[in-house]
Amino acid sequence: MPTGLKVALLAALLSLAANIAVVGFIRWQTYDDSAARIHRDVIEEAAVLEAVYATGDEAALRRAITDILVVRDPHYFAALLSPDGRPEAGNVAAIQRKPVAGYRIGRLRPLGARTDVDAAYTLRRLDSGDWLLSGRSFGQRLAFEQTLERSLLLALAIAVLLGLGAGYVLARYVNRRVRDIATVADRIGDGDMTHRVPLSGGDDAFDGLARQINRMLDRIAALMEELRLLTDCLAHDLRSPLGRLRARIDAALSAEDEARREALLAGVVQEADSLMRILTTVLEIGRAEAMASRAQFASLDPGDLVAELAEMYEPIVEEAGVELRLDKAAALPPLFGHRQLLAQAITNLIDNALAYAPGAELTLFARLEGDTLRLGVADRGPGIAPEDRAEARRQFGRLNAARSTAGAGLGLALVEAVAHLHHGQLELEDNHPGLIAALAIPVRATR
């Protein structure tokens, strides 16, 4: 069954159910009540006359009917009918149906009237074969209720039609919104990543869905762009070490001197190692981005981690003539994370700081600010200009000024990937002067 038809039927059914409920409620509140009252009155009044007949005879009954009719209640009927239904006494001129014993609702003509009225009455057969009739006309209230009931039924019929109409309109609307999304999905599927789902501006659930889909498409497009950039840059950055590698091998092949050949081959090994390193780091980034390493997450003390790395790097930083400081908050919450990747990320930040910011001091910090844990490095170097920061995060996107410095190209991209793996991000801020580079990790997300 097509979705549009389903939606239409559902809407019509729901509208019908709601209307039946309302109509039923009104009917139950009114008709049922007065009908029951009339039924009760008729039975009671009949019982009085029957009691008279039971204690006396038919003559006493005739007298009792005459006495009662003295009151002249226009809604009350009492009569004696012949066995074939002709009135003999009382205020009834005629009944429309053949007399049958029991409670009836039917039409009868009051004495002296020209038209029949709706009434409820009981008939009882007397020993002589005559009938005792006792009843009440419905009066205005019940007549009104009967009209009301007819109106309600009519309303119900209209409601069904309206429900079908509403269902049709709704189905068309839903179909159109869904088709908008499906069209975009088709175009994206055909490889055109530029399409986005249009928003109606109404801020409804469809717009919410459209926004979500658009966000997802933006993210996919960004990832594809990153991937394209990565392969481009990888090709570019591998070209020069590969070129050097080849040149050294050529030189080694043609070298006459044993010592010189050995030196050249040592250089070859170095180049090969640096190539391996680049490839390994690219794989690490890919893995961290694919969140594949979460299996190795464990609870760790971020303060200990930073202290350990400070201890590890203290000698080499000192040898570079830089003072290494450790700024570690006293009580840090435990971090559920990947120790190796976090250490590698922070190590990258230290390496970067050493390579680009040969300043006077370097601070390794672990702080808690609100719900965010910040682990990172603050240096006193030239920093990175705000407009260059996005470029700095990008894989291989070494800043032009720093192009000549070997190595650190992949650094920040890996740090960012590790931060994302921990539901956080890489923050680059001004240290006035210098750069603060930190992994900002929400504490709650790490549990």
Partner: protein, 229 residues
């Protein structure tokens, strides 16, 4: 002294290169090229060391390793793998291997690790004097004290750990990566010469005031603790 090594490696070229090198070092090498055969040999005979490629036909390296450990074969295992990421390394180590080496590797690196593993299996069988003696250097792992020529040398905790690792592999080459993994428990390449600086600090403390060097740099490979001989 030659030892018996089982090599499970399907790449012909790597296998030849390893067999030649290890045989030159005086070890005898048994070579198979698929995992099932490797498992069969390893459970049937006694080896001093198993070198296991992670991706071999019939049964992959990690499965072989798990089966071996499940069968209570405690022979040290060195895993070789082209999978270089930190996660892969840790997975390899967690599945019960004693060491993990990423391809491509230098033969010096492999040899250093092979010797360290063989040395460890030796040490397991002979537990006697807990003190470690290297020439005139005396290390007491229980008291965590270091003396050279009877003179007490003050070391920081990390320096002590570094020295103890050297001493447990005395006379053998220890590579930078081995130090990073064993002393710091980091399984990635920090790219800078962090380890060198720590080693040269330790060396200064050990050799300050003594004529004879004891901690040597082995060019293209790593370091070696021992008398120069």
């Amino acid at each position: 002294m030659g030892r018996k090594i089982l090599l499970v490696e399907d790449d012909r070229e790597t296998a030849d290169y390893l067999i030649r090198g290890l045989t030159e070092e005086g070890h005898s090498v048994e070579h198979v090229s698929d995992g099932r055969e490797g498992l069969f040999l390893a459970t049937g005979q006694t080896f001093d060391l198993i070198i296991l490629d992670r991706m071999v036909p019939a049964l992959d390296g990690l499965s072989v390793l798990k089966a071996l450990r499940a069968a209570n074969v405690e022979t040290p295992v060195l895993i070789l793998s082209a999978l270089a990421s930190v996660s892969d390394r840790i997975e390899g180590l967690e599945s019960g291997s004693d060491d993990y080496l990423v391809k491509p590797f230098s033969f010096a690196e492999l040899l250093a690790r092979v010797n360290a593993l063989l040395r460890r299996s030796e040490a397991r069988s002979s537990a006697a004097d807990p003190r470690l003696i290297v020439g005139d250097l005396e290390i007491d792992p229980l008291a965590r004290t270091v003396k050279r020529g009877g003179r007490l040398i003050e070391l920081k905790p990390r320096e002590y750990k570094l020295l103890e690792y050297f001493a447990r592999n005395k006379g053998r080459v220890v590579t930078r990566t081995m130090l990073l993994e064993q002393v710091w428990d980091y399984h990635f390449d920090p790219g800078t010469n962090v380890i060198d600086v720590h080693v040269s600090r330790l060396r200064r403390k050990l050799e300050d005031g003594f004529d004879e060097p004891i901690l040597h740099t082995v060019r293209g490979a790593g370091y070696r603790l021992g008398q120069s001989s």
